[in-house]
């Protein structure tokens, strides 16, 4: 909830919120969960028509944003997603786009067609960065890409791949003879197999993707090998700042309905909101949420502006919001009493989303250590 949004951006937030509220209110999200999760394809293509996959694409490739601050606008969408625990590959698609755009700027092989496909919503892309049993360490894959004439042969297993079942293309981090590189691998290439896993999120799917001697051409590389670390850094900042915006949307929404509940729920003849012990907990939550809003905004702005300190500000936001968001939601569960731990109540939908965002692409602990590195300890 940036306090300094432009009029364009306020309008964009309203239309996004209205669209999500109409198309996928929480009852629909519950229905999707009942049917096994994932996301309705037409929902995502409609979203793409609203620009959800175009905001990070430069104008010359057909993208752009009205406000001129594409990443800020994207974070608005992510926040609204958080408010309604929306399904849909907002994070993976835009992370891949960020990688492709970065690769193109560096002068790697042309991936315009893929970018166009992603922008239209017809093609889903996702970053295959994690490996089984591995922690967050994207520049240290055991998946290999072996040069074979003009081609590369990719072998390895990636897991925790969001929307892996819906993806038409994977962005794979793999070890080469001389370093690490990023490759675009089509899901229908020979040797690719996808297996869904159970996800904590209410609707989002994650998959394990196996690459058994998958051959791609050298043009499948994104950017250049020497620029891989920079591209990965950009993708990391993009996905983490979006996670922060999403967690933020979730806690703001949960807090709203929990405050309302505190006014409506009576105990010993008076509302919960009249007990000082509880008022103080609400004040703490309100203050930490304000901190979350503040740090998410700064991270988003830094990524949008490619600020010099964006790496640190993104990690600050992730460490902070990752830590506080789930504590706040758990405290809101507590305020609801027994109802809060039922399937029936919406709290757990938000807790699932926030916990998923918290744990992936670096836990708060990972980001705390990263901050120590970044401040030169």
């Amino acid at each position: 909830m940036d306090l300094e949004l432009s009029e364009d951006q306020k309008l964009f937030r309203n239309t996004t919120a209205k669209f999500l509220d109409n198309e996928l209110p929480v009852e629909k999200v519950r229905a999707i969960n009942k049917e096994g999760g994932g996301f309705p394809a037409e929902f995502w293509t409609q979203g793409a028509e609203l620009g959800w996959a175009a905001l990070l694409v430069p104008e010359e490739l057909g993208g752009g944003s009205i406000s001129g601050n594409g990443f800020q606008d994207l974070a608005i969408v992510a926040e609204e997603f958080g408010r309604l625990v929306s399904p849909g590959p907002l994070l993976p698609v835009n992370t891949v786009i960020a990688g492709l755009v970065e690769g193109a700027a560096i002068g790697g092989p042309d991936h315009t067609e893929t970018i166009e496909g992603l922008m239209s919503g017809e093609l889903i892309g996702t970053w295959a960065a994690y490996e089984p049993k591995g922690h967050w360490d994207p520049l240290n894959p055991s998946t290999t890409a072996t040069k074979n004439g003009d081609n590369y042969v990719i072998t390895g297993v990636k897991d925790r791949v969001e929307a892996g079942d819906a993806a038409g293309v994977f962005l794979v981090t793999a070890k080469t003879a001389s370093g690490v590189a990023l490759f675009l691998v089509p899901a229908d290439a020979a040797g690719v197999s996808v297996e869904l896993v159970d996800s904590l999120d209410f609707v989002r799917h994650h998959a394990t993707v196996t690459f058994s001697d998958v051959t791609v051409s050298a043009d499948a590389m994104v950017g250049t090998e020497s620029a891989t670390a920079d591209i990965v850094e950009r993708m990391l900042q993009v996905v983490v700042a979006l996670q922060c915006a999403e967690m933020n949307g979730a806690i703001n929404r949960v807090f709203e309905f929990t405050v309302q509940w505190a006014f409506d729920r009576y105990s010993f003849g008076r509302p919960l909101a009249s007990y000082q012990a509880l008022k103080h907990r609400f004040s703490d939550m309100r203050t930490w949420i304000e901190c979350c809003n503040a740090t998410a905004d700064e991270a988003v702005k830094a990524v949008n502006n490619r600020a010099e300190n964006s790496a640190r500000l993104v990690s600050v936001a992730k460490a902070y919001i990752g830590t506080k968001s789930v504590q706040i939601i758990q405290d809101c569960v507590q305020m609801h009493g027994g109802l809060g731990v039922t399937w029936e109540h919406d709290c757990h939908l938000y807790l699932r989303r926030a916990t998923t965002d918290r744990q992936l692409f670096g836990t708060p602990a990972d980001h705390k250590r990263r901050i120590a590195d970044l401040i030169g300890l």
Partner: protein
Amino acid sequence: MLVTNIPGHDRVGEFMSDQLESVEDFRIRARAWLSENMPKLDPAKEYNTNRVADREWVEHRALQKKLFAGGFAGICFPKEYGGQGLSPAHQAAFTEESVSYEMPLRLNVPSLSICSGMLLDMGSEEQKQTYLRGAISGEMILCQFLSEPSGGSDLAGLLTRAQRDGDTYIINGQKCWSTFAYAADFATCLVRTDWDAPKHRGLSMIIVPVHDDATHLQRVRMVDGSEEFCEEFFTDLVVPAGNLVGTENDGWTVGQRQLFYERQAVGGGSPYVSGQPPTRGGSSATVEEVARAVGKDKDPATREIVGWQSALDTVNHQLIKRITVGMASGEYPAMASSMMRLAHAEIPQHKMDVMLDIAGDEAVTSVVGGDGYLRSVGVQFLMRQGASLGGGSSEMSRNMISERVLMMPREMAADRDVPFREVRRGR
């Protein structure tokens, strides 16, 4: 209560004025002036220690006079009272430029940020010309006489009385916990002028001299050995009636204004604070410095803790920035400053805990007469709760956030609408 209702809010518009010198031009001018006029920090000297040396008051008054003569004092105060009529962005630039110079930091809180802020909004023209200008020019130092032994949180329940006598007020009673009063010239003193009205409606704010034969002032020793606190006993202290700020019995309105500036100052978001404490040495040792000093800087667990504290410190600044924006635009009520105040207690306290943990067994002993990081960690820890008491307690902030931001029901008050003389008091 929206910010638009509070006096002084219209000044925000003034800050936006495009007739102001640009921040960048101002910065360049400030840089040049600082290098020619202000003393550079001396690496051999210990700054910002827990104990305020008496010489600092003399030095800081002189430094403030220099700022004033150079046209850099009271950057956000209006020109007609000796300020510069510039914006918080100009002030922030000046503070950035001033980090390697000695600055009159002791005058920031409470003199400039709290007492002067209140006077600007609530003082008469004459009071502003005298006391506000006095504080900005370095001629005077102001302090606050609010808390009393009977209670600080329930400020409106205070017992010090002032009686009108012709053109004067005669004051009797006792104040306590007044920071830096021993070094100040005047205090903004909240007193009771009507005992038959309910507590909030019988108060008045009066400017009183600190050093007077009718006032017995005593320094109070704190747990860290410092003596920043004072207590004062008034026996028939006579002050001119013209020292009344606002109107008689409307002191609560004036006091609330002062408390607003206090929360802002104690929360770290005052536009009237100039300069920042030197980042090295004394009580401002950083967590990184402590980690290095005990050789734990490569330990992953310590690095994680240091990274977390660094994140919290950053978030604290981001919060101040956001709430300041929210209050200026009217989106947030003035009471939103309580969130700033609460965070500014919790986060520094977390830091003290972290430092103590990292300093480990080296925090409790030190070479006699020695100083440096590790010693200050233990001593600072003793004063930990000061951060959640001074400037209003964290519990009171939580009351305020829940009641004035979240609009939850007010606490039961046994003294509401009761004539003050009938209100029950503790022993």
